[in-house]
Symmetry: C2
Subunit: 231 residues, 2 copies
């Protein structure tokens, strides 16, 4: 991975920049939604999308009718950003307020995957990215569905991460102010799954849903966490 280029170099607060592929991969693997930027008639568009990382590339997908898919397939420049918000940093001064976050930005051009077998595997990656284990159960795409879907592959060759962690940084003279300061950690949790009303008889909630977690081991199931606290 050739991570550092002129545009991947973190310009603002460069000490927060990180070009370690493992760090970038971890952010991409933990996120669920990316924001894809593209240009139409010189103006920017930013659209939220599901995605997956597949080794050294990102997979995006959508209907053949999607403007972003049609434009993306013409190999124009894209920018894909994934942001994980970890907490609010409440300083004594308004100016030093901040947020703890981990973001990854990927620049480059995507190409449409046309080989049917490769397309199937790429779509599996997206399903597995969202719910690991799901492709073993869900009905795979049939030919009609596959034909109606555009799948884009975008190399991770130009990517960078930007990370802010830790506590409050106030100006020295502000520390005596009688103002509460600290970090309010934020995270995403899953509530109890809501089964579809027409579930076939005898089908129970799979473990990867009941005990939902993102790669990196983070458990998102709120009810599970509560249960283990009470135990």
């Amino acid at each position: 991975m050739k991570a550092v280029s002129s545009r991947t170099t973190v310009k603002r607060l460069p000490k927060r920049g990180n070009y370690d592929p493992a760090v970038i991969h971890a952010i991409l693997d933990e996120g669920l939604v990316c924001h894809v930027g593209f240009v139409v008639d010189g103006a920017p568009f930013v659209i939220p999308m599901v995605y997956a990382r597949d080794g050294e590339r990102l997979i995006l997908h959508g209907s053949n009718a999607s403007r972003l898919m049609r434009i993306g397939a013409t190999e124009v420049e894209l920018c894909v950003t994934v942001t994980l918000l970890d907490g609010l940093v409440l300083a004594r001064s308004a100016f030093n307020h901040s947020m703890n976050y981990r973001s990854a930005v990927v620049f480059g051009r995507a190409t449409a995957i046309t080989d049917t077998a490769e397309k199937r595997l790429a779509l599996d990656r997206i399903v597995e990215h969202v719910a690991r284990g799901r492709t073993a159960e869900a009905r795979a795409a049939n030919d009609r569905e596959l034909g109606a879907t555009t799948v884009l592959s975008m190399p991770l060759a130009e990517a960078s991460a930007k990370i802010r962690t830790g506590g409050v940084g106030d100006d020295e003279e502000d520390y005596t102010l009688p103002v509460w300061a600290g970090v309010l950690p934020l995270r995403v949790v899953a509530d109890l799954p809501i089964a579809d009303e027409r579930l076939a008889e005898g089908v129970s909630v799979p473990e990867y849903v009941r005990d939902y977690r993102r790669p990196g081991g983070k458990r998102l199931s709120l009810h599970e966490a509560t249960a283990s606290t009470e135990a």
Copy 2:
């Protein structure tokens, strides 16, 4: 609000489009991070930022040294997107998998706020957006800090929302499959606040931090929710 224009019209799955200013405002008010798209040398950039809604405009801010602030102040086209992820929709077929979400997209040009009093009010809006009540306690920006900060105002004249709610939509022939299907609700919660080590004596956690919630009444404090469940 002139919400509907050629580019705010939701192209893909138009039934998910919503142009009601109240709906758009609610999404912008609940979100914490937006993704700002801008164009440099014809290529898109997408950067996560904090923001605030102030009536019929969005407020963005950053260091004078920030590239996005410098470029944004020249009144180029921007696209600001806020996405709230509400759940995973796990269908019986891979193809019908989806996500429940609410997103708002704002197109337009921003202008730099140069009037000092207006700039102060706009910065207050950002602090209040993140933690309502905070400006009454935190030390306000001094002249040096104010001078080092660029504040942009972007009208909400061209904005739209896109929303997906509800359950699974599978193809009729798939309902008999022995595959679990349903929705896994996701939400953001706050863990217990972590006080700064150098807190002045006698300062306690303010209510707006301990009982953190987003506009719309959503309580994010996980520990509070747990406590009330146990009570």
